[in-house]
C-alpha cells in the first residue's frame, strides 16, 4: 500500500454495469516523506467517506478489485484507509 493525498473528485454518470454508486477520487501518490511522487491516479473510494485534502493509503491492481463490496474487477486503484498519523 502507498500513501496518497486526495486532491479532487471525478464524476462519471455513464459507467459499466457494477460501478454504480462507486465514488472516484483523484489521488496524488506520495513518497515516504509525504511529498508528491509520480502522476495522480483515479481511485475508487472503498470507504465512501474520503474527501479532498485527506491523507489516505491505497492499494493498486488486483487488490483494488478486492477492496470493493461486492468484489469487482474493473478498478485499478482503491482507497482503503484514512491516515490519522504516521509516527516513527
Amino acid at each position: 500500500m502507498q500513501l496518497g493525498r486526495v486532491t479532487g473528485t471525478v464524476v462519471a454518470t455513464m459507467k459499466v454495469d457494477g460501478l454504480e454508486g462507486v465514488r472516484f477520487l483523484v489521488v496524488q501518490p506520495l513518497d515516504e516523506e509525504q511529498q508528491p511522487s509520480g502522476r495522480a491516479v483515479i481511485a475508487a473510494d472503498a470507504l465512501h467517506t474520503a474527501g479532498p485534502g485527506e491523507l489516505i493509503y491505497f492499494v493498486a491492481s488486483r487488490e483494488a478489485a478486492e477492496a470493493l463490496e461486492p468484489r469487482f474487477v474493473p478498478v485499478d486503484h482503491a482507497i482503503v484507509g484514512i491516515v490519522d498519523e504516521v509516527y516513527p
Binding site: 500500500m1 493509503y57 487488490e63 484507509g81
Partner: protein, 89 residues
C-alpha cells in the same frame, strides 16, 4: 519476498474492515546494497518494531492465504524479522 526496514507506524481509524485490528507499518524496501529503493505500507504479522529489518511478502494471493481469507485488499505483509542477511559479493 523483499528485504525492508520498518520506518514508521501508520495509524488509521477509518479503514476497510479487512484492516480492523491490524497493525500497519511503513517499511523502506532495501536493495542488496542496503539502500532504500522505495517503500510500502505492510500489515504486521510478527510484532515488528520501528528500526527492525524485516522480510516483506509482496504478493496478494499468498497474503490472503496467510490471513486465511479468500478475498481482501491485502498484498504487503511483514512475514518475518530478519536476524541476519548475507547478500554475498
Amino acid at each position: 519476498m523483499k528485504v525492508g526496514r520498518v520506518a514508521a507506524t501508520v495509524v488509521s481509524t477509518i479503514s476497510h474492515p479487512f484492516f480492523d485490528g491490524q497493525r500497519l507499518l511503513l517499511c523502506h524496501i532495501l536493495d542488496s546494497g542496503g539502500d532504500t529503493t522505495g517503500y510500502t505500507i505492510a500489515v504486521d504479522r510478527v510484532d515488528a518494531g520501528v528500526g527492525d529489518p524485516v522480510l516483506i511478502l509482496d504478493e496478494g494471493s499468498s497474503a490472503r492465504q496467510l490471513f486465511g481469507v479468500e478475498t481482501g485488499p491485502v498484498r504487503a505483509v511483514i512475514a518475518g524479522i530478519i536476524d541476519d542477511v548475507d547478500f554475498g559479493d
